[in-house]
């Protein structure tokens, strides 16, 4: 173990740290002597929980005053580094705000970024990360060769979040400096799309629909089946791009990564972009009329058939139970 300090990009939602934050903190604790949570926003209501997951120190930007987090948090991080506290590694979640922040910081510090990773190893002075490519069929291991700090982003659910029972961390203010022209973007209003049932990335059963449904109106069957199984409905990128369902339903490389107990793919062929988001599911059921569809290569149970025939019968059978 050769890393002294790791910073973890941390966020709260509804008064608790996000799952991605806790996953990264847990992993960071196995790699470095000191783990610092760098909180995008106020830290008051999440400090205790990040402490329980291994952070011994917290930097908090405080209220972002309508700025998008990327530009603001990167500037706050640079200010701390300029002040003399430099980490060896900064871990980001592969999500909207993590990506924006690491991008801005990479230019400020003139450091490379490694994104889309699912694992990390530290051996002496070398830090290597692992990225699945070509739909997860191959794993690329890459090492950092430049100056520290190294900047790295991890896909959700790459690590398990486990409390280690740490004490409340020291909280230090890391205010956002004047952003000048770069701070021009301001959030004017926030819209939350309401969902009933469990969250897509936390549900133990996920039912996703794709192009094979034929038309937007048929997506209702996916919602009915998800409801009958007390699961969450999801979607392939194809039908999100086609406007059948909102982006928040998308499972895949550019959407959510899910690892439920059961994943049911209905009318989804299994494009690389989709497989990356669901291959980690414990059990996979696929229904598709093309028996050559790549999705059957990962399915525990594959049904070669028309989703519009199989789904109504399945929903009825489950509702009768």
């Amino acid at each position: 173990m050769a890393l002294s300090t790791i910073w973890v990009f941390a966020q709260g939602a509804d008064g608790a740290p996000t799952t991605a934050t806790l996953e990264l903190l847990t992993k960071a604790g196995t790699l470095a002597d000191h783990v610092t949570a760098f909180v995008a926003g106020p830290a008051d209501d999440i400090a205790a929980a990040v402490g329980e997951h291994g952070a011994t120190k917290v930097y908090a930007t405080g209220d972002l005053d309508g700025h998008l987090p990327g530009v603001a948090v990167a500037a706050a991080m640079q200010a701390v580094i300029d002040g003399g506290d430099t980490p060896d590694l900064v871990m980001f979640p592969q999500n909207y705000e993590g990506r924006d922040t690491m991008s801005r910081l990479s230019v400020k510090l003139d450091r490379t970024v490694l994104t889309n990773n699912t694992d990390i190893a530290v051996d002496g002075d070398s830090v290597t990360v692992t990225t699945p490519i070509f739909g997860g069929t191959q794993l690329v291991t890459t090492t950092f060769t430049g100056e520290r700090p190294y900047l790295v982003a991890f896909r959700p659910k790459s690590f398990a979040a486990e409390p280690s029972g740490g004490a409340a961390p020291e909280v230090v203010a890391a205010p956002v400096p004047d952003l000048g022209a770069t701070g021009g973007a301001k959030v004017q209003a926030v819209h939350v799309e309401e969902h009933s049932g469990p969250k897509l990335d936390e549900a133990s059963i996920v039912v996703s629909g794709g192009r094979g449904l034929g038309e937007a109106g048929k997506y209702e069957m996916i919602e009915q089946l998800a409801k009958a199984l007390k699961g969450a409905p999801g979607a392939s990128r194809a039908i999100v791009d086609a406007g059948w369902v909102p982006y928040s339903y998308q499972v895949g490389q550019t959407g959510k990564v899910v690892k439920p107990t059961v994943y049911i793919a209905a009318g989804i062929s299994g494009a690389t972009q989709h497989m990356v988001g669901m291959k980690g599911s414990k059990n996979i059921v696929a229904i598709n009329k093309d028996k050559e569809a790549p999705i059957f290569g990962v399915a525990d149970l594959g049904i070669v058939g028309d989703v519009n025939k199989v789904l109504p019968k399945l929903i009825e059978a489950l509702q009768r139970r």
């Binding site: 998008l68 990327g70 530009v71 909207y96 990506r99 924006d100 991008s103 801005r104 990479s106 230019v107 400020k108 450091r111 490379t112 970024v113 994104t115 889309n116 290597t128 490519i133 070509f134 069929t137 191959q138 794993l139 690329v140 291991t141 890459t142 950092f144 060769t145 430049g146 000048g180 022209a181 770069t182 701070g183 973007a185 959030v187 004017q188 926030v190 819209h191 939350v192 799309e193 199984l229 791009d241 928040s248 550019t254 107990t261 059990n283 229904i287 290569g297 990962v298 399915a299 525990d300 149970l301 594959g302 049904i303 070669v304 199989v310 789904l311 019968k313 399945l314 489950l318 139970r321």
Partner: protein, 258 residues
């Protein structure tokens, strides 16, 4: 209203990708096409310029071997001109170097009101370049735009979030990254395809742009291994004979999830 679109020319995603065994970079030989993710940005730019009633759409691209077929597609859609950065030294460049190169290339196209990019490319998908370009140029940015409008000198964007979307405003000039599906990209017309052949494409090298070091030398990273991932074994496949739904019920029952 002058809009620059960053476009990437990539190997056809319908083909299975492969890595060059000598240096583990993605093989980009043969004909490259316009990344579909960027066709949304080109369309968005054309619409914004049209609405503004004046100005033009310029393109910047970085590609090996003077490759231009993807750029020609975007020119055929209606873009006016392009800067192509092509330089053998660029092989192995990381996202930061790419951003520095594209930012310098954009600056050659005159006054800029807006720079548009896709959220991530379909082949490398690092997903950091648009925001890095903004920082290199000292500009504000809005990433993950699902709708874009310009109202006077103000950019109005609905930005995708985990929970829904935010309404975000920003003064111009600015950088915006657009999600797929933000607009319906037009197909190039025959007239557009013919016109594209005579549109100006300036070819430059990284050295011309004053960006060094590039390629492997500037990357700060090194691939140490590429290995096959553990395969997931395929399970039982059944043809639907009208009762396949019962197979699924049985499967779920065995897992005790129903």
């Amino acid at each position: 209203m002058n809009v620059i679109v960053c476009v990437k020319q990539i190997p056809d995603p319908a083909q299975v990708g492969s890595l060059d065994p000598t240096d583990n970079t993605l093989k980009r030989e043969g004909k490259l096409i316009l990344d579909e993710s960027d066709s949304y940005g080109v369309e968005m730019a054309l619409q914004l310029v049209d609405t503004a009633g004046g100005g033009e759409v310029g393109l910047v691209s970085m590609a090996p071997n003077d490759e231009m077929s993807g750029l020609r597609t975007a020119l055929a859609m209606g873009a006016a001109k392009a800067v192509l950065v092509s330089d053998a030294e660029l092989a192995g460049s990381d996202a930061l170097t790419t951003a520095k190169v594209l930012a310098a290339a954009a600056s050659r196209l005159g006054d800029i009101d807006l720079i548009i990019a896709g959220t991530e490319s379909s082949d490398g998908y690092t997903g950091t370049v648009p925001e890095q370009i903004a920082e290199v140029l000292g500009l504000p940015s809005i990433t993950f735009a699902k709708s874009v409008a310009i109202d006077g000198g103000t950019l109005r964007v609905n930005r995708q979030t985990e929970a829904g979307y935010d309404e975000v405003t920003c003064p111009l000039p600015a950088v915006v990254s657009v999600t797929a599906g933000v607009v319906e990209p037009r197909y190039p017309s025959f007239k557009g395809i013919m016109a594209a052949k005579s549109k100006p494409v300036e070819k430059v090298t990284a050295t011309d742009l004053g960006v060094t070091p590039v390629g492997w030398a500037g990357a700060g990273q090194q691939i140490v291994e590429v290995a096959a991932a553990p395969e997931r074994e395929a399970g039982e496949i059944v043809e639907d004979d009208g009762d396949a739904h019962l197979k699924i019920v049985e499967f779920l029952d065995k897992l005790k999830v129903i």
